[in-house]
């Protein structure tokens, strides 16, 4: 590598690390230096190896991998030979044609579409047909070519148009109808096989197809990204495509994909949290002085109490009552909090949970009867009796009923968690319930999934309730939720 080349490489890497840092990934100076050392040993042309080399030195947490990968793809998308785009941003036609011809030679299908010289000449129906075939055979090269073709044809991308990548993705996929594709593929596979397949075989086949369709989607996404980068430049793109880390995703606005990554992030998190809490409990060594033991041990020093002995500490585990609003807007937040609380329920002496919309119901038993938290949550959502009049949040009524029915169980050992955005639809607040509760319980906390700036705007009356509690906490994402729970136990 020549000196100028090396300079260029270092500049490139410096910019990349800057992007990573801006996305919230902690990259230290030593790690940056390691990466610079690493790229001297791995050629940039070997893209996969290059990516892993950078990841190994820059990323030290698996949860950050996806963010890293996205930024990598954007930042280095124009710098690998196989992803070259020519000047007007179109995929090089020569490659496609060649690929297409190869494909025809290989398949020798001769079912009428042999005459078409290039993918460009195909009708949308033929494209769909071709796509289905390539998906069924798992033909990677053709899938990639088709992804390019589909984006070129359906996405309707125009230079300089200020729309995000998701819009183009949506347009492309709508034209391809991938959901219908799966059923068609299953049908076709069933026709082709000689013997009727068992349910197990069907399941496996369906999964294989789903896997390939997902691959194809990823390919389309990557293609759109490449074109956008060509249009707008890597730096600008990295900013718009940046995805928040799982622990920073907001509960209230998470997409379906983000929900899944959240759910995945939750499990290791609870494990870590439980281990940390157990350790914390154990490490608080010193209990009160154990007088008997001290005197007994003083005998070996001739009656001088030289070595004070302490009682083994038995910190009381808090008793927890979770009262959660599960109406549409905050349902996801309630779900995650319940999952987290039950995953570490060993840290509490007792956990009881209640859910409400405008009526309230106890759901503790759902969690007791099964070990599977997800199933319990599902039952909470489907079976709990939470609607009283119209199914719009009514905190006042819910609290009133809670106090009437379960108020006697709240005692000086109980910590009560109230979850919700306190958007009361202008019903009566009945804040006196919270006040009385706070008088009896050890602590009352309110967790609000809304950003602090939205509190007490519109029909939100969190201030009215919050006044009587020991604290109102903003819990917009997993990170905030985690730090609150750690404080609690």
């Amino acid at each position: 590598m020549s000196a100028t080349e090396q300079r260029g490489m270092l500049d490139l890497l410096g910019g990349f690390v800057g992007q990573l840092r801006e996305a919230g990934l902690p990259v230290s100076l030593t790690e940056n230096l390691d990466a610079m050392e690493a790229v001297r040993h791995i050629p940039i042309e070997d893209r996969e190896a290059f990516k892993y080399a950078l990841a190994a030195s820059l990323i030290k947490n698996q949860a950050h991998w996806r963010t890293f990968e996205t930024i990598f793809e954007v930042y280095f998308s124009l710098r690998g030979p196989e992803y070259a785009l020519d000047r007007d941003g179109e995929a090089t036609e020569g490659d496609l044609d060649e690929l297409w011809r190869e494909m025809q030679d290989a398949s020798q299908s001769g079912d009428g579409r042999g005459g078409a010289g290039s993918l460009d000449a195909l009708t949308p129906e033929e494209i769909a047909h071709l796509l289905m075939q390539s998906l069924m055979q798992g033909d990677q090269a053709l899938m990639r070519a088709l992804a390019r073709q589909a984006v070129q044809r359906f996405a309707g991308m125009e230079p300089g148009r200020p729309v995000g990548g998701t819009y183009y993705l949506y347009r492309t996929l709508r034209n391809l109808d991938l959901d219908g594709m799966l059923d068609k593929m299953m049908e076709a596979a069933a026709q082709q096989s000689v013997a009727p397949s068992t349910t197990l075989e069907q399941r496996l086949e369906r999964e294989e197809f789903e896997h390939r369709i997902a691959e194809f989607k990823a390919e389309v996404e990557a293609e759109i990204r490449r074109r956008l980068v060509a249009d707008r430049g890597a730096e600008a793109m990295a900013k718009t495509l940046r995805k928040p880390l799982p622990e920073d995703v907001e509960f209230m606005h998470a997409s379906r994909d983000e929900m899944q990554s959240l759910r995945k992030a939750l499990q290791p998190l609870t494990r870590k949290l439980a281990a940390r809490l157990a350790r914390k409990r154990k490490h608080q060594r010193r209990g009160p002085l154990d007088f008997r033991s001290t005197v007994r041990h003083s005998l070996s020093y001739g009656g001088v109490p030289a070595e004070p002995k302490f009682k083994f500490p038995r910190p009381a585990k808090p008793e927890l009552m979770v009262v959660a609003d599960i109406s549409g807007s905050v349902a996801a937040f309630a779900r995650f909090t319940l999952m987290l609380v039950y995953a570490i329920s060993g840290q509490f002496s007792k956990v009881r949970s209640f859910v409400f919309i405008d009526g309230i119901d106890e759901v503790t038993d759902y969690f007791k009867s099964t070990e599977d938290i997800t199933e319990a949550i599902h039952r909470v959502n489907t079976e709990a009796d939470v609607v009283w009049v119209d199914g719009h949040s009514d905190y006042g009524h819910a609290f009133e009923v809670f106090w009437e029915r379960y108020g006697k169980d709240v005692g000086p050992k109980t910590t009560v968690l109230l979850l919700g955005d306190a958007r009361n639809n202008y019903h009566a607040s009945q804040a006196w319930v919270v006040k009385e509760m706070a008088g009896v319980a050890r602590h009352v906390y309110w967790l609000n999934p809304e950003p602090r700036s939205y509190w007490n705007t519109g029909d939100s009356i969190v201030g009215e309730y919050g006044r009587h509690t020991d604290g109102v906490y903003e819990c917009r994402n997993l990170r905030q939720l985690e730090s609150f729970v750690e404080k609690l136990a």
Partner: protein, 299 residues
């Protein structure tokens, strides 16, 4: 030993020529590495840095260190971590009994200073894995297994050896490495490791293998298995992993399952067989029930 001078990193013999060589070498030893694994192993050699391998249990993290040791013809020095591990178990310890004997053996003859220098010398030093790894004359691979089990405070023990390949002993001075060993740390991710430790390491996440790789692992590790059966096994395992289970089947459990099916002389897997042998793949009763239900009911 005191004051022995270690080789500089630049003089270090390079063990691997290319990433491809690592991959092929590991393949010959029946360890199927993907791009990431081979690349990171190669880098670790070139940069002289330890590798932190993280991932779910049973995905071949420890095996990676063993295979690399075998590939480079090095001896494997292993430190198994556990809660309560301390300096005297990980680094070195003075052989108190021998020191005591030495003092008693020539009582009154030596002067105090001579005796003092004498009992704090190599002869009375018991080397533990970490010290052993850096003072060894033959090539070694150091494996620090399940590093997430030690307390955060104990991690600090490792820092000096990981960044500078040296150990400081108050009575003897600093012992530097005669050669820079390849170091692998494994973690099951039960807790977040400290930043200081992570910063000193290259990071490698070993996840469950892709279906194609798993099939090849089964083919490589289970003798006489047909390709058809290996393919089916990999597919069923992928299907089970996609379910929402407490503990997804690991690679070692996949291999156990494959061997069991071989013993039972099974050519093709159908639902009945899958359900009857599920307990080899899954270890929780709730998981088994759930998987059995999902496998038989098509959604």
């Amino acid at each position: 030993m005191a004051g022995s001078v270690g080789l500089m990193a630049s003089e270090q013999v390079q063990r691997f020529e290319s990433v491809q060589m690592v991959r092929d070498g590991l393949r010959d030893l029946d360890y199927l590495a993907d791009d990431g694994i081979a690349g990171v192993a190669y880098l670790a050699d070139r940069l002289g840095k330890p590798v932190l391998v993280e991932g779910p249990a049973g995905t071949g993290k420890t095996q990676l260190a063993k295979s690399i040791a075998e590939l480079t013809g090095a001896r494997l020095v292993r430190l198994q971590c556990y809660e309560g591990l301390d300096e005297s178990k990980a680094l070195f310890e003075w052989n108190y009994k021998k020191q005591l004997l030495r003092i008693q053996a020539d009582r009154g003859s030596d002067s105090w200073t001579e005796l003092h220098d004498d009992i704090f010398s190599d002869e009375f030093l018991l080397t533990r894995p970490l010290l052993e790894a850096i003072t060894a004359d033959d090539p070694v691979v150091l494996l620090i297994d399940e590093v997430d089990r030690v307390e955060v405070e104990t991690e600090a023990l490792l820092l000096e050896i990981l960044s500078d390949y040296q150990v400081s002993i108050p009575e003897l001075g600093t012992i530097e490495a005669k050669q820079i060993p390849l170091v692998f740390l494994t973690s099951n991710n039960t807790r977040e490791l400290s930043e200081a430790l992570k910063r000193r390491c290259l990071y490698l996440h070993v996840d469950y293998p892709s279906m194609e790789r798993e099939r090849e692992i089964v083919l490589a590790k289970v003798p006489d298995i047909t390709e058809n059966l290996a393919d089916q096994i990999a597919r069923v395992v992928r299907s089970i992993r996609s379910m929402d289970l407490k503990k997804a089947p690991s690679v070692s459990e996949t291999l156990d399952w494959a061997r069991t099916l071989m013993l039972l002389n099974i050519e093709t897997i159908d639902e009945e067989i899958a359900k009857e042998t599920l307990h080899i793949l899954l270890k929780y009763q709730t998981d088994i029930a759930k998987a059995a239900k999902e496998l038989s009911v098509d959604e």
